[in-house]
């Protein structure tokens, strides 16, 4: 059984995605249990797989028994073992948490929603687990197409935002495909390990350099790296809460995983950082991404939209960290994939609860929320602290690695940008806390109250099914922070090739 984990991770949600759709016609009540069971099996398999990888080393799974490079092989090493756990656990928790808001927002389309949800997770998990460059493209499009559907389900401005996302997403995926085409011309192979074996003799070739750059641009569009980020804020803001708390933590992070995979496995760090000699400008682009993301977030008056701009800044963190070209920076970038996915999930789930109760996330809607929804806001504070980078939450540790990496590389611009963005996050989140805590709850009688004080708003908390996953993720944020040393030593350190110092 455990030898089949790599296939189960993808196959179970894929089949469940189709089953859920059929179940939606028969009885809508079946959709949720099937989807959660499938995601649970995926999460269980990926956790089992990570422990197997830690004990036994890299696992190669040959699809259908065909040997690579002819057949498609799934490789699981420490890097994608870790990302697999993050993706599957985030998807599983969010599926449980969003049950009520899905029933609330689109009661007629529950089957379609869960089907898209599970298929999107299939695509994301497939991108992470596959060892075949073209297979990755197909799974990329599976994740993207279902993502457009999930975002458009919101109605209102949702479909328009999804359509704009679709143009950009398609261009990004096409660029990736084009880059793989050039690699195929040069190497005659699509298997990542096989390409990596053939490439070193061709590193001076212009076509290989073009392939690398084109792939990178494609992946950057997909991850909303700053000048290419225009699709992200609207798409994530106007998506229904259940979709945005799935899409926001995972899609950008999985694309950063793809970038790191290209840098480390398909090409070597030697090629990416030394032969190509583009690290400096890319880190400067990351600096601009961080600063602009932070500034654009300051201007927003809607909590959800503010958070989407923070994502744009966080993408800058990870791209910059990966391109610093040293081991510490790369460790920070990989650790931040984990941390950012978890803390983005935490804050977006909290926003989901708020939207479920208050029906809006504009700053005016947030007044008095600490009294009204103390548990949700408690978890939100933990997520916000992690985004700011307060120990012992996990956000602190990855930021620490990123800043150490920047100092080691002598790239002080990147360091300043990281500190600047943390300070802006402090302003952003404490402004939210202030509104939620001090400003009176805008209930019906604010002026006519003769006693001169506002009535205590009654507590009106989100249902337990939404609160428990939120607490779980808030606790995980702290736990991951406390066990950062183990994660770095046992997993991330092994994942980075020895050549990178």
């Amino acid at each position: 059984m455990s030898s089949q984990y790599p296939a189960l991770i993808v196959a179970v949600p894929l089949l469940a995605g189709l089953l859920v759709f059929i179940a939606g016609w028969v009885n809508k009540k079946w959709c949720f249990p099937i989807a959660v069971a499938a995601l649970g099996i995926s999460a269980y398999s990926s956790i089992g797989l990570l422990f197997r990888v830690i004990n036994e080393g890299v696992i190669v799974y040959k699809m259908g028994g065909w040997d690579p490079p002819m057949g498609i092989a799934y490789y699981v090493d420490h890097l994608n073992g870790l990302v697999l756990v993050v993706v599957s656990v985030v998807a599983f928790l969010n599926a449980i948490a969003s049950k009520r808001s899905i029933e609330d927002e689109f009661p007629d389309n529950i089957g379609a929603f869960y089907s898209l949800y599970v298929l999107m997770v299939t695509g994301l998990l497939g991108i992470v687990v596959t060892g075949d460059a073209f297979n990755l493209y197909v799974l990329l499009e599976i994740a993207a197409l279902t993502g457009y559907g999930l975002i458009a389900m919101g109605g209102g401005r949702g479909p328009l935002s999804a359509l704009n996302y679709l143009y950009m997403g398609t261009i990004g995926a096409c660029f990736y495909l084009l880059g793989i085409g050039y690699l195929y011309i040069m190497t005659g192979s699509l298997n990542m390990v096989d390409i990596a074996r053939i490439l070193p003799d061709l590193y001076q070739s212009k076509a290989v350099m073009a392939a690398f750059i084109i792939c990178m641009v494609g992946v950057w569009i997909k991850m909303a790296f700053f000048p290419l980020h225009a699709w992200l804020p609207n798409a994530y803001t106007y998506a229904p809460s259940a979709s945005s708390s799935l899409v926001a933590p995972l899609v950008t992070k999985v694309m950063i995983y793809v970038m790191i995979r290209l840098i480390l496995t398909v090409f070597t760090p030697e090629f990416s950082f030394n032969i190509l000699a583009v690290s400096q400008p890319i880190v400067w682009l990351a600096v601009i991404a961080i600063v602009m993301g932070a500034l654009l977030a300051l201007k927003e008056r809607n909590l959800k939209k503010m958070l989407t701009y923070i994502i744009v800044a966080e993408v800058g963190y990870m791209v910059g960290g990966a391109w610093l070209g040293n081991r510490v920076g790369m460790t920070g970038a990989i650790l931040h994939i984990v941390n950012d996915a978890l803390m983005t999930l935490c804050v977006f789930m909290a926003v989901g609860n708020i939207v479920y109760k208050v029906k809006g996330a504009d700053f005016e809607d947030l007044q008095g929320l600490f009294r009204k929804m103390p548990f949700t806001m408690g978890a939100f504070v933990v997520g916000a602290m992690s985004m700011i980078g307060v120990p012992p939450t996990c956000g602190f540790f990855s930021k620490w690695y990123l800043i150490s990496g920047a100092i080691q590389a002598g790239h002080y611009g990147f360091m300043v940008a990281l500190v600047f963005s943390s300070l802006v996050n402090v302003v952003l989140f404490f402004r939210i806390f202030e509104i939620c805590y001090y400003e009176p709850f805008s209930d019906d009688h604010g002026h006519g109250d003769e006693h001169g004080h506002h009535p205590e708003p009654a507590m009106d908390e989100a249902p337990v099914t939404m609160l428990v996953p939120l607490f779980v993720i808030a606790v995980i944020l702290v736990l991951v922070g406390l066990y950062t040393g183990d994660i770095v030593n046992q997993i991330i350190d092994v994942a980075i090739p020895k050549g990178l110092v």
Binding site: V138, G155, P159, L163, L166, Y167, L177
Partner: protein
């Protein structure tokens, strides 16, 4: 000058795909109508499919099927040089499917946008959003 011309002519397939790609990209960026943008996106995808198909082609090569292989008088040795490379073509079957699916999703979204705003012109939609 003759050098450049001969390079361009020898690699005409690449020039065609780049031209098509740029036409598609131009339509996505510059066109005002959402459906025209979608068509541009499709041209963009098709350009890459054309690129892949063209790299599998060889002069004087035939389809990669053995003649009379089961009759006993088939070729003893398979010469790869005699056959076109089928792999890029097979890959593009998948890419075509992806392209059709993307087109379908895009048109479905365009219908939803039309129902919402009663127009497909981007500037009119943006004007309506600003009014809200």
């Amino acid at each position: 000058m003759a050098d450049i011309v001969s390079t361009v002519v020898a690699n005409y397939n690449y020039w065609i795909y780049i031209t098509l790609m740029m036409i598609g990209l131009y339509a996505i960026i510059a066109k005002n109508n959402l459906v025209k943008k979608i068509v541009g996106m499709n041209i963009f995808q098709t350009a890459i499919i054309l690129f892949y198909v063209s790299i599998g082609v060889k002069k004087g090569a035939t389809i990669p099927i053995l003649e009379h292989a089961h009759g006993g008088h088939g070729y003893g040795v398979v010469h790869a040089a005699e056959y076109a490379n089928p792999l890029p073509h097979v890959l593009m079957l998948t890419a075509i499917v992806v392209g059709v699916a993307t087109l379908g999703v895009a048109l479905a979204l365009a219908i939803r946008v039309y129902n919402e705003y009663n127009t497909l012109e981007e500037d009119e939609i943006l004007a309506q959003i600003r009014e809200e």
